[in-house]
C-alpha cells in the first residue's frame, strides 16, 4: 500500500470544471494544433490496439475508435473515467496510474500520452511502464507542452522594451511543478527540460522516428496569432 494523494495534482478536484469547459471537439491546442497530426501518426503506425495513458474523458480514444482501432483508456481521475464510459459505453476505460499499468507485457501496439506527461509525477516509471506494455516494434506517441513553454511557469506574458508581448523562458534547467489556475480549474503541471524527456525515452532503448513542433492549422485568427508567438506543443513518435 502507498500513501499517494488522489488529488496530488489537482485534477480530481478540478475534474468537473474541466469537463464543463472542454467541448467534444477539444480546446484550441487539441482541435487546431495536435489532433490531425496525432490521428495521422497513430493511423500511420497501423496499430490495431491502442492504450491512451491519461485519457481524461476519453476524447482521443473516441476519435481513434471511429477509425476502427481497439482503444483502452486509463486515467487516475475517477470522474473522467465515468464520463468516458457514459460517452462511449462500448469503450474500455479504467482507473489507474501511469506509473503502475495493470496490463501484461506487450499487450498494445500503440501507447499514447496526449498532453498527459506534464501531469505525471514520475515520468521515468511511466515511460518504463508504457514501453513494457508495448509489443516489439510498437509505437509510443507523445504530445506534450514544449519545455520552452512550461519553463515560463507562472511568469506569464511580459511587455518587452520593444513594447511587444513576450513569453519568456523561466529557469529552464530546473525540473519543478507549478500550480496553475483558470476557469475554475486548478492543477499542477511539471516543467522538465527537453533533455529530461529525451534521456528518459532513450534510456528505455526507444528509437525516435518523428518529431514536430506543430503550428496551428486553421482556427480563429486571434488565437492563431497568440499561439504563433511561442512554441506551445511538441509531438514525438518513438518505436520500441
Amino acid at each position: 500500500m502507498t500513501d499517494r494523494d488522489p488529488d496530488e495534482n489537482g485534477w480530481l478536484s478540478s475534474s468537473q470544471a474541466w469537463l464543463d469547459r472542454m467541448p467534444d471537439t477539444g480546446d484550441f491546442a487539441r482541435e487546431f494544433i495536435l489532433d490531425s497530426l496525432m490521428v495521422q501518426r497513430a493511423l500511420g503506425s497501423r496499430a490495431a490496439t491502442m492504450l491512451d495513458v491519461g485519457c481524461g474523458e476519453g476524447r482521443f480514444c473516441r476519435m481513434m475508435a471511429r477509425h476502427g482501432v481497439q482503444t483502452t483508456g486509463i486515467d487516475p481521475v475517477g470522474p473522467f473515467i465515468d464520463q468516458a464510459r457514459s460517452r462511449d459505453p462500448d469503450g474500455r476505460y479504467l482507473t489507474g496510474y501511469a506509473e503502475a499499468l495493470p496490463f501484461d507485457d506487450g499487450d498494445f501496439e500503440l501507447v499514447v500520452f496526449y498532453l498527459s506527461l506534464m501531469d505525471i509525477e514520475d515520468i521515468h516509471l511511466a515511460i518504463r511502464e508504457a514501453v513494457r506494455v508495448l509489443g516489439p516494434g510498437g509505437t509510443l506517441l507523445i504530445a506534450n507542452l514544449t519545455s520552452f513553454f512550461t519553463s515560463n511557469g507562472t511568469i506569464g506574458w511580459i511587455t518587452g522594451e520593444d513594447g511587444r508581448r513576450h513569453h519568456p523562458l523561466g529557469r529552464y534547467l530546473e525540473e519543478r511543478a507549478d500550480w496553475f489556475e483558470w476557469d475554475g480549474v486548478r492543477i499542477r503541471n511539471w516543467h522538465r527540460p527537453l533533455g529530461t524527456y529525451m534521456s528518459a525515452l532513450l534510456a528505455e532503448g526507444l528509437r525516435l522516428t518523428f518529431f514536430d513542433e506543430p503550428a496551428p492549422v486553421g482556427g480563429p485568427t486571434d488565437r492563431v496569432e497568440r499561439y504563433a508567438e511561442t512554441p506551445f506543443t511538441m509531438l514525438m513518435e518513438w518505436v520500441k
Partner: protein, 64 residues
C-alpha cells in the same frame, strides 16, 4: 439501477493484471472485486469500472 450498464467488459478483464505484482487478477463477480492473490489485494469495481489504484485496494484477510 441498470445492472447491464454496471457489468464490466469481459474482454477488458482478460487483459488486466495487478498493477503492483503484475500477476493475474481473478474476478469475484459476487463481491465485484478483482483479486490479486500474489499481492494479496482486492481491487473494487464501481459501476463497471475497475479501480486499479493500489491505495483503493482492500488487503485480503488470512484464508481469503
Amino acid at each position: 439501477m441498470d445492472e447491464d450498464n454496471h457489468d464490466v467488459d469481459p474482454k477488458l478483464l482478460e487483459i488486466l493484471v495487478c498493477p503492483l505484482s503484475k500477476g493475474p487478477l481473478r474476478y469475484d463477480s459476487k463481491a465485484r472485486e478483482l483479486i490479486s492473490e500474489r499481492a494479496r489485494l482486492a481491487y473494487p469495481i464501481r459501476e463497471g469500472v475497475p479501480i486499479l489504484l493500489i491505495d483503493e485496494a482492500r488487503e485480503l484477510e488470512d484464508g481469503e
